[in-house]
Symmetry: C2
Subunit: 288 residues, 2 copies
Amino acid sequence: VSAAGTAHAQQAWVNGLPADTIAVWDRGLQYGDALFETMACRDGVARFMARHLARLHRGCERLGFPPPDDAQLSAEVAAAAGAGAAVVKLLLTRGRARARGYAPRGDEVPLRILLRYPAPAADAALTAEGVRVTVSPVRLGENPLLAGLKHANRLEQVLARRALQDAGIMEALMFSSSGALIGGTMSNVFLVHGGVLQTPQLERCGVAGVMRAVVLELAAQLRLPVEERTLGAAQLHEAQELFLTNALIGIRPVRELEGAVRAVGPVTRVLQAQLAPLLGARGEAAHG
Amino acid sequence: VSAAGTAHAQQAWVNGLPADTIAVWDRGLQYGDALFETMACRDGVARFMARHLARLHRGCERLGFPPPDDAQLSAEVAAAAGAGAAVVKLLLTRGRARARGYAPRGDEVPLRILLRYPAPAADAALTAEGVRVTVSPVRLGENPLLAGLKHANRLEQVLARRALQDAGIMEALMFSSSGALIGGTMSNVFLVHGGVLQTPQLERCGVAGVMRAVVLELAAQLRLPVEERTLGAAQLHEAQELFLTNALIGIRPVRELEGAVRAVGPVTRVLQAQLAPLLGARGEAAHG
């Protein structure tokens, strides 16, 4: 796909109006002073919209943005999504800089950017058979003030994806600077160990994914023992089951970790079965 | 100053042409996938331009941007700076995203954004008498792959400046997640201890400032003993002299740290005297 072709297949809105530019003075560009959400949409409905909005609100509170207007955002996302299947990315910046320098003045007006992308091709085989995963050489810096948020400072993920040269490897798992397993570049990770479902706690870094929260709730409904905890390399490699989650892909089992074949286990399958009705008609990604 | 007023006093160029918007698809906006330099300019000449370009090249190499064209950038910075005194910020993004997702494809075309700001008012008193400084409650995440660079992932600095409510405090010193002193939100820090000039090593985080490099060279010329090393809170508070540097302000002594009065010492004064001829006519900031 050429750059022009890509642009053609995509659409953008700024503050509710069709537009595909923003001011160079925007703090989102200057400092990555922005938050985002990426939503799977079908016929104008964004899956798990309430959860996306809740995380966005947490981000706004942490960064000191005024609370967004949920009704306005929901209407704009619905309009952007349109008919059929699509991925809509909402980028909320702090707005135009009032002066030079890092300090926000506090009277900035946040900017709402909506980007509509074609839905990715369905990947039922990846959901059924699993994906190949490696461990990233890039480690994540730790900052509790930013942990859990989907903010726009994503150079670490960019570097990790750039280091991932093999197109057959879907994801790279990242550890923090202090050696804790955090998650993939664009996914959260779950382990099963001795019948217990485990996922990294995200107090120091990482993104608290919407699908991660859904899976934790499903596990509670199924009365599976669950632990959010510090996990290291040993726990990762000794896990009986491994799977990845994100808002678009649902649950994908890991069938290979750093070249070693992994079995897809029963806890993963039970959670996938429980999740399927929540994902919509197409099962995996509710679009494709 | 109103938003409109601010905009009026500022000018912007994109890829060498007057323009003040960029595409919402730019990776600089999406991920903070960008580098920047902020230069003090007078009559079209950017002070320490070669050093700014050298750091930009290091950043491009680290992030995998193609090497920038120095002649082109220099000409564009000179044109943007114009007559008189100005601050010019050069923001170099990886360019427009070729597809959704963190992975660069490698064929992106970087975007050159130049922003011209009025020169700040001269602050000779701050250079002479010193500034008041505090310690930030915000700690810096550690990532050796990004350390030293002036990249556009600056939420930590935004949060630190936001936490600094007292307008009389010029700067907040930041420690890393592992407890090492790194520098101010927009400056590097130097200590004098037992006749030795010390500054934090920046192997894990922080920005390797242009003025920091200039001061290290001046110290070598003066045969002052110099250490780039790991420094903690104890060393900060026990230092006999403290000063801050950045490309715009030169050297500013710290006259108060967290409410405690500090003496401005002889090493600081010798370095200021040595630096003054390099800063141009106005001494401190070569503009104002």
